[in-house]
């Protein structure tokens, strides 16, 4: 196998995007994605069973398109990587079964990798960056499925979760609030657009988990110092709308959108920057679909630069869920000489970030029989 510039095929199916990406080392050859987002619109959120059905039908066509675009064959590939978790169990299963079948058919090694760490790995494909994985690296991941701050000591095997949402993901909160405000799905772009016309200071919504009992101090951190919670915020928005309606007043939708967005973005960035300062993180990579949000990018940039932290934002097509990030992390694992995961691992919908790739199986031993 080519270990210096391995050709790696990555497969992603943890939520509603079926992605196949192919990289050679840190060069991106293709990032082919098929999304079932349109099928979820009428439900106002991702329906796991619909996403799983769509993955099954999209996988082979997506694979075919990716191979064509990269102009490589399955024979050329050095290794296969697949998202093994975290994510929707039924959706993960489709990508994992397909990846295992590819491994059986081609005899190529298979890596079962962590989706969150792959979001960081995608930074390696950014041709604009000079130093692809700088020292003291952190990652802020914000999407419909996750809200996390990670510390990356070594991307192939030393990643730590510093904080995460304890209930809804930020993107999920956007979807739920968009529904309350009658703005449709996905909520992020709709709220971001409307918020520009509103006054974010007109209403003040709560910032979850910011009370002293949760925060503690730097020396004696509370139980949720770097964690987020968005379910209370969603409830507060619903109450606020109800109040206007009960009083027979027009609901100031733009102001509510702006104030909601400000609450989300404020608490995400303030806690992320706090974690970075206290943990000695000087470089932060922003990932996940909510990285497209204009206010989040603006405030993150502002607060990072005020704290002397360098912010990296990959191109948006690489921030949302995709196969290229899986391939990019897979290539790092190959280059680091990490053993492949084999084909008997189970997908893990709550795979921890401490597991960057599922470990190679134990050598088969003949069981002693009595």
């Amino acid at each position: 196998m080519n270990r210096s510039q391995p050709l790696v095929l990555g497969i992603e199916s943890s939520c509603d995007e079926t992605g196949v990406g192919i990289v050679r080392g840190t060069d991106l050859l293709t990032n082919t994605v098929s999304s079932s987002m349109d099928e979820h619109v009428r439900f106002g959120g991702v329906i796991p069973e619909i996403a799983s059905r769509a993955h099954l039908d999209a996988f082979v066509p997506t694979l075919q398109a990716a191979l064509a675009e990269a102009d490589v064959t399955l024979d050329d590939i050095d290794a296969i990587a697949v998202t093994s978790g975290p994510g929707l169990a039924g959706a993960l299963m489709v990508g994992v079964c397909a990846a295992k079948a590819l491994a059986v058919a081609t005899g190529k090694p298979l890596y079962a990798i962590n989706h969150l760490v792959a979001h960081v790995g995608v930074g390696l494909l950014d041709a604009r960056a000079e130093n692809l994985l700088p020292e003291n690296l952190g990652a802020l991941l914000v999407s419909g499925g996750h809200t996390e701050i990670l510390r990356i000591r070594r991307i192939t095997d030393d990643v730590e979760m510093l904080g995460s949402t304890i209930d809804d993901a930020a993107g999920e909160a956007y979807d739920k609030v968009a529904r309350i405000l009658g703005l449709g799905y996905p909520g992020g772009p709709a709220i971001d657009r409307l918020a520009r016309e509103g006054n974010a200071k007109a209403i003040r919504f709560p910032r979850g988990l910011t009370q002293p009992k949760y925060m503690g101090t730097a020396e004696e951190p509370g139980p949720h110092r770097y964690d987020w919670s968005f379910s209370g915020l969603k409830t507060a928005v619903a109450r606020c709308v109800e109040q206007f309606e009960a009083q027979g007043e027009a609901v100031p939708v733009a102001d509510i959108a702006a104030a909601f967005q400000e609450a989300v973005v404020d608490v995400i960035t303030s806690k992320a920057v706090l974690a970075c300062r206290e943990q000695g993180i000087t470089n932060v990579l922003l990932g996940g679909g909510v990285a497209a949000n204009s206010r989040l990018r603006q405030l993150t940039e502002q607060r990072c630069s005020a704290a002397g932290i360098t912010l990296h934002v990959p191109p948006l097509g690489l921030c949302t869920d995709n196969g290229a990030m899986v391939a990019a992390l897979g290539a790092q694992l190959v280059m680091a000489g990490i053993e492949p995961s084999g084909i008997s691992f189970a997908p893990d919908s709550s795979m921890p970030v401490t597991t960057v790739s599922a470990p190679a199986p134990e050598p088969v031993r003949t069981a002693a029989r009595a």
């Binding site: 329906i47 079964c97 189970a346």
Partner: protein, 223 residues
């Protein structure tokens, strides 16, 4: 003709069948458990190929059970079969999974002329289909597949694990009361049908149930 057959509509199973082999069987495996398909299927197929000394190039076609069956498990087999067929460049066919049990019934000595096959559909329901038999022919599907309550099925002898589960309301055959669709019989079914110039299905899953998603109603207004 060498066929790799796969079914994950209930348990996970795979088989290599060939009209050249003794009794048509080159090799096969099946699990007992119905919830670990993603772990066991690929290693099972790899081992089956290795033990039978068969490579992808030797295979003429892939046949997959398209259900009905619990969704996630069913998709494991179809995703596997579709990907293998693509990677090896081989034709892919589908077969209704209950046909596997029907063929097994047909090959047993006391097969009745008309019968039901039922498997567990969970949520207190069964997947079922009605078959008739004629000497020397494959069982003929005359009704189904359907999903429903066992008590609502026609009054006929019933075979398969779904019948065994509801033996109180079905005329379950005790010898078949734990029988699950198996790729081995599916493969043999396919061999016979293809040899006779018959058609198989494509690999579209037979879910029989909607995705359960509810379109949210309008938000209640506070008045």
């Amino acid at each position: 003709m060498l066929i790799l057959a796969i079914d994950t509509s209930a348990v996970a199973s795979a088989a290599l069948v060939s009209d050249d082999a003794l009794e048509g069987v080159v090799g096969s495996f099946s699990t007992e458990d119905t919830r670990s398909h993603a772990e066991v299927l690929a290693p099972g197929i790899e081992k089956l190929l290795a033990e039978s000394d068969v490579t992808g190039a030797d295979i003429d076609a892939i046949v997959v059970g398209v259900g009905p069956g619990p969704f996630t498990g069913l998709r494991s087999g179809i995703a596997t079969a579709r990907t293998l067929a693509f990677a090896w460049g081989k034709p892919l066919h589908g077969l209704m999974s209950l046909d596997a049990v029907a063929l097994e019934v047909a090959e047993s000595t006391e097969a009745p002329r008309e019968f039901l096959v039922a498997t567990d559909a969970r949520r207190k329901e069964v997947y079922w289909a009605r078959y008739t038999l004629q000497e020397g022919q494959l069982p003929k599907l005359v009704d189904g597949p359907h999903v429903g309550f066992a008590a609502d099925l026609p009054d006929l002898p019933a075979y398969g694990a779904g019948a065994g589960l509801y033996a109180d309301v079905l005329r379950a055959d005790p010898d078949f009361s734990a029988e699950q669709p198996d790729a081995l019989y599916l493969g043999q079914f396919a061999l016979v049908r293809l040899a006779g110039g018959g058609e198989l299905l494509d690999s579209t899953p037979l879910y029989l149930r909607e995705s359960d998603a509810q379109v949210p109603g309008p938000r209640k207004r506070a008045l």
